[in-house]
Amino acid sequence: MDTQLPDIFQEKRLLGEAGDTFWRRALAVGLIALAASVALGFAAGDHGRSFFFAYAVSFAYVLSLSLGALFFVVLQHLTRAGWSVVVRRVAEGVAATLPVLALLFVPILIGLHQLYHWSHAEAVAADHLLHGKSPYLNVPFFVVRWVLYAVTWGLTVRAFVGRSLAQDASGAPELSLEMQKRAAPAMLLFGLTLTFASIDLLMSLDAHWFSTIFGVYFFAGSVVGFFALLAVLMLMLQRAGYLRHAVTVEHYHDIGKLLFAFIVFWAYIGFSQYMLYWYANIPEETGWFLRRQTNGWGWVSLLLLFGHFVLPFVALLSRAPKRNRKVLGAVAAWMLVVHWVDLYWIALPELRPQDPLPHLVDLTTAVGLVGVWLASAAFIMRKRSLVAERDPRLAESLGFENA
């Protein structure tokens, strides 16, 4: 290399006290908000249904972001990516919350009967379709599947985050090769678990409806959410003085490009799902969309069309906005909001087909889960370097420029 690269060991790369303050505060806010949500749920007098739906939406939200992070980490190893080394550790930190999310899944199990029509034996007995699906949609198998998902994700996190941390200590390039080797099977397992997790958690809220592309739709949204999150996190960390020189506008440009690409991909998948059902016009398929087009839910659908696709598409189309931290940060923050709206739009019409506006409990639960989840990420990262500081491709990432 003929030009000087920033020295990674000069960078502020440990969260330190600021991190401790952050996770304590975030945890406090999160727990208070969750407690408030439970209280609101009881007050609603609907056997906790509004609370559990709110919880399912926001759990799907944090889960999707963590899974997006896991996808990113595995993909970087699968493709031997060089540019992303300086931002990969932050993604690893987000992915490492997946074991915590296994704990946060417990309330879903508690609220199973409130959430899922198919979990009621009498409903299944009275409904021929549900009866036919019961070999898949039944409580014990549901629990078994989620145990499998949790184990798969936990092992993936250990295989990749663990090795990456070990490389911080040893600098051994073999670790990169080991991760590369494990990346392909990990991706396969990731694809299958994410698909069925999304079917279980969200699609089966309306157990009559089905769509073969649903897993891909959830995946697309997750990755959009993750890249938005990555941009926001890196900007906030840098503002707080971390990794000031290591992460440059070039990395933001690439994150912006990927965010843009997945926004388009999300629209493509969403369009494919909608248009095919719209065109064939078979009642058992269109009912799901009908609920999302009537009684005011149409406005939420339009918000998604414009907010989740048209506006960010225009905003990120050219080169300059992707290289402007303020614009990119604003678009990314907006995408984090509309990604939540997307999940809300999937889940809530099943509970309140007449009422598209979020209730207070939806918002407090979102704050609660995001708070606890961010706190756990910061807690996990509190003693870890924010950058994979001895990754063999670090120099390539530090010197990276978009030609």
């Binding site: 369009f271 248009m275 719209w278 065109y279 050219s318 030609a403």
Partner: protein, 187 residues
């Protein structure tokens, strides 16, 4: 070999400029920068590959072709929508399979294709216009040595029409920049 024929083309033997040969990317970059800094404007670099950093060295301003592409795309998008709406819902309304005469979901595929088509045509059309293609003859192509410009050799050409062009000084500059050979090109 058909050189004899090539050079026998009747042309007024006026001088077009100088052509200097360089052996490597590094030398080309340094020379392009030096020529620009010496105040020349009517000069060009020639290379068999796209050389990164040459834009800055030569002081080329970013092309406005992306704008042409954007306009092409916008025209294609609007045109695709109008075409489908006017033909199927206005000029020849025809009810088929219970679909609305103009329904956006069914219109999207064609709108997308027409957007991409016109944007791409804009890109390539703009490239042709901006580069002056096809321009089958150019004075530098007279040079026998220049045949290597599409193989493995790098060149800098300076036009005699450049206000700073001076016979001896310009040649001396090019030679001082490490040119392997400087030759005069006829118009």
């Amino acid at each position: 070999m058909s050189d004899a024929k090539l050079t026998a083309v009747e042309a007024p033997p006026a001088r077009w400029g100088l052509l200097a040969e360089f052996e490597s990317v590094e030398k080309l970059l340094a020379a392009a920068e030096a020529v620009r800094k010496a105040g020349y404007t009517k000069f060009d670099a020639h290379s068999p590959i796209p050389v990164h950093g040459l834009d800055e060295a030569m002081g080329i301003r970013p092309t406005r072709l992306p704008l042409v592409v954007l306009l092409g795309g916008a025209a294609g998008c609007a045109g695709g929508l109008l075409l489908q709406w006017w033909t199927n819902a206005v000029d020849y309304p025809f009810m088929i399979s219970g679909k609305p005469l103009f329904g956006l979901p069914a219109a999207i595929p064609v709108v997308f294709e027409s957007t991409v088509l016109l944007a791409a045509l804009g890109a390539v059309g703009g490239l042709f216009v901006a580069n002056g293609w096809p321009q089958l003859f150019h004075p530098v192509l007279r040079s026998e040595r220049f045949r290597a410009a599409t193989d493995d050799t790098f060149f800098i050409s300076i036009e005699a029409a450049d206000p700073r062009f001076e016979d001896g000084a310009t040649r001396a500059l090019l030679e001082s920049l490490g040119s392997r050979a400087v030759e005069e090109v006829e118009r």
